[in-house]
Symmetry: C2
Subunit: 438 residues, 2 copies
């Protein structure tokens, strides 16, 4: 019988802890990120989960066979060195090899920028993500999803976990993956929409951070076929403006969290965090018209926003108010799903919004229908059969408060925040129409 004491704690120091150990001999375990032989000494860059540190080694301390991407245990003394990246350098006393690669990586992952074609970078992602700049994006992403949950926890929301294999699509259309479920027809959830609305009837305010699946045939720089959605839904709205206030509150909290927790990563990526003051909120038609007039681009589709239009709307409000964000409200009813609440003042529009961040849509949200009769009528008007949605309509039938919510695309938010050109760069292992691997 083995004793398990439960006294687990980090067996190693992390890079962030080194400043507390200046002048003391410490043990670090990590990967050899780079090796540079300067003749008299060798500079070894040790990579750990939270950063990298420059280590100076005599040739004598380096074991036979050491190479880039070896895993090592290293004993050394950190000291302040303004010329070293991060301001700390380690004088190495001992190096022990824990494991060795079978073959060197074909691309120079220790360079600051990889400068690979995106296709190559993604095909080699299992190893290119060891590049410090690359992985910094995913440390920022982790901080964003963490901040989302923390903020919503602080506002009385409860986390939920809802199924991804479903019997009916929430968002409609043909953009849905089909599968066979023990001989029955099933789908992959396009969103947790039905379930999060359902849980408002129980827990009042809920959120979920989980994958969603869209079988879209787009192959653009901003579409993924599987992405992580930061979803929330709340009951007892006064108006759908509450939801925009909630998102603004989250974004402010998120930027403060990133500033505190990801300073090193943001510096590495050259990211300046946006200031978030009052975010302008402009009705759909007005937003379209103002951008069209300002930049002389004619309106082609009166019911939807083309990517180029989103870009121009973002630009317009940036120029006018300095805000990187703009809410576009009151989307046309015919372009929103059957559960969206129409504006009682003009039912051609919905009580809904998208949030554009630097000209790219990162959020869709809005108030939902809570009245049973109203919901059934809207479905019937669209030629849908309410009987197919019986378990969803159960909540309306038996009473729902006024409610609404939103879904934020984690990868798009990460992309725009980090100034990336393609959403695939903000997704560890992206799925697109051509890509199912790695």
């Amino acid at each position: 019988m083995i004793g398990v004491t439960g006294k687990f704690s980090r067996p190693d120091l992390q890079i962030a802890q080194l400043p507390d150990h200046i002048g003391q001999s410490v043990e670090l375990r990590g990967a050899v990120h780079a090796l540079r032989d300067l003749g008299g000494v060798v500079f070894l860059t040790l990579r750990k989960g939270d950063g990298a540190v420059q280590c100076v080694c005599d040739h004598a301390v380096l074991p036979q066979g050491i190479c880039q991407e070896a895993a090592v245990k290293l004993t050394g003394t950190p000291r302040t060195e303004p010329r070293a990246p991060g301001g700390i350098e380690l004088t190495v006393e001992r190096v022990e090899i824990l494991s060795l690669p079978a073959q060197p990586i074909a691309v120079p992952i220790a360079k600051e920028r990889l400068n690979l074609k995106l296709d190559t970078e993604l095909a080699l992602r299992p190893v290119t993500v060891r590049n410090l700049r690359q992985r910094a994006v995913f440390r920022v992403q982790a901080a964003i999803s963490g901040a989302f949950r923390e903020y919503l926890d602080s506002q009385g929301f409860t986390e939920i976990h809802t199924p991804k294999i479903v019997h009916a699509g929430a968002e409609g259309g043909s953009n849905i993956f089909r599968l066979s479920y023990f001989g029955r027809k099933a789908f992959l959830a396009q969103s947790p929409q039905f379930y999060k609305q359902t849980m408002v009837g129980s827990l009042e305010r809920v959120y979920e951070v989980a994958p969603v699946f869209r079988a879209e045939k787009h192959a653009t720089a901003r579409h993924l076929n599987e992405y992580t959605s930061l979803d929330c839904e709340m009951g007892y709205l006064d108006s759908f403006v509450d939801l925009m206030e909630l998102e603004t509150g989250f974004l402010r909290y998120c930027m403060a969290a990133l500033k505190e927790r990801c300073a090193k990563e943001l510096a590495l990526l050259g990211v300046e965090l946006p200031e978030i003051g009052e975010i302008p909120a402009v009705p759909f038609e007005e937003a379209k018209r103002l951008a069209s007039e300002a930049y002389g681009r004619p309106i082609r589709d009166p019911f939807d926003l083309e990517p180029e239009e989103e870009h121009l709307i973002g630009r317009y409000w940036k120029e006018k108010t300095g805000s990187d964000f703009v809410f576009v409200t009151h989307y046309p009813s015919k372009k929103r799903p059957f559960y969206a609440m129409d504006d009682p003042d003009d039912p051609r529009y919905t009580l809904s919004f998208d949030l554009l961040f630097k000209g790219v849509e990162i959020t869709t949200g809005g108030q939902r229908i809570h009245d049973y009769q109203q919901q059934v009528e809207k479905m019937e008007k669209r030629g849908m059969d309410p009987a197919e949605f019986e378990s969803f309509l159960m909540i309306h039938k038996h009473g729902m408060p006024p409610h609404g919510g939103m879904g934020i695309g984690l990868e798009r938010l990460t992309m725009q925040l980090c100034g990336l050109e393609n959403v695939r760069e903000a997704c560890l292992f992206p799925r697109d129409i051509h890509r199912l691997e790695p």
Copy 2:
């Protein structure tokens, strides 16, 4: 243009805040959970996200048509009342109806226990989850996943999001859902195994809380075809014992968090949290033999544990040490996946473990192979083609530290903790061989 100030904060008080407002008139929005006419006055139970409160109303303040599951805005004054559930009662001054149900719920959701057949309960889950006892399970569940992330954050882990549509299964076997991905053959991930190992090469310590999919044809009280896995993986292990220490540390943290955050829910469910001291860790063969000897049950399958055996092993160590938990270590190699590291002292066994909680397996974990040659050889010995796993083997080829990890079944942990009889009770919208809806 609408002004969005970002000054969102809870527009309502929550139940937990009422003690701070004794004697003051407050506004609350919630659902009418129950209405009891006592002749002179009416007792209205108001349900909010975090609890329920008893409200005393004169007939005169109740609007026409008020009924169970109406959404209301209510003005009243909380006062201490030892006889009321929760010790607080509200004297109501005004009630406004926000929305009304179309039809009453057919089951008595305001009763303490629903006492429905499980099939009925699950079919009506969208509304039965409004029952206070039912939803308490999911408040506990949310606290568990929150505690998992918090504990791992504190230990230097980074959250990751990995794809669920994959090109190859990690766990092998036929228990995998297939789908067509733009004409290509694809699968639903049985676990994030390949991806979390991959990310150890970059971020050293990672975790993911996400759905996993198992096409198992079992219809037992402990199997789900889609469940939430609390996954983590870490580099630079000294031994696989580190992983058991990590899990013990998490469980202690989790129990402390539940005690603090879910006292009301635990009381409602009648749950007594387990004390977690040193958790016994017993090799597979010894665990099997001791339980067989103690309870006179012959060993039928020498390579796996039958559910009845898990139950008896749990019972044995509970009786012997008082622990509700027991690690069973060194599972036979032939029953573990190809990435499991064999014990160098006896390669018929692996450096792996399961954790049993009250006789039910809630975790599988272990050390993984990090050496390229060793991994390729083990695959070939099993008749697998390494070429099909090229993007996974990339990490071994180019260097991996000694590493390992585990996956904890969130619903099973919730079930055992809450003393439920069926794992479906611990899953909001369970998926099983017969159930794809709601």
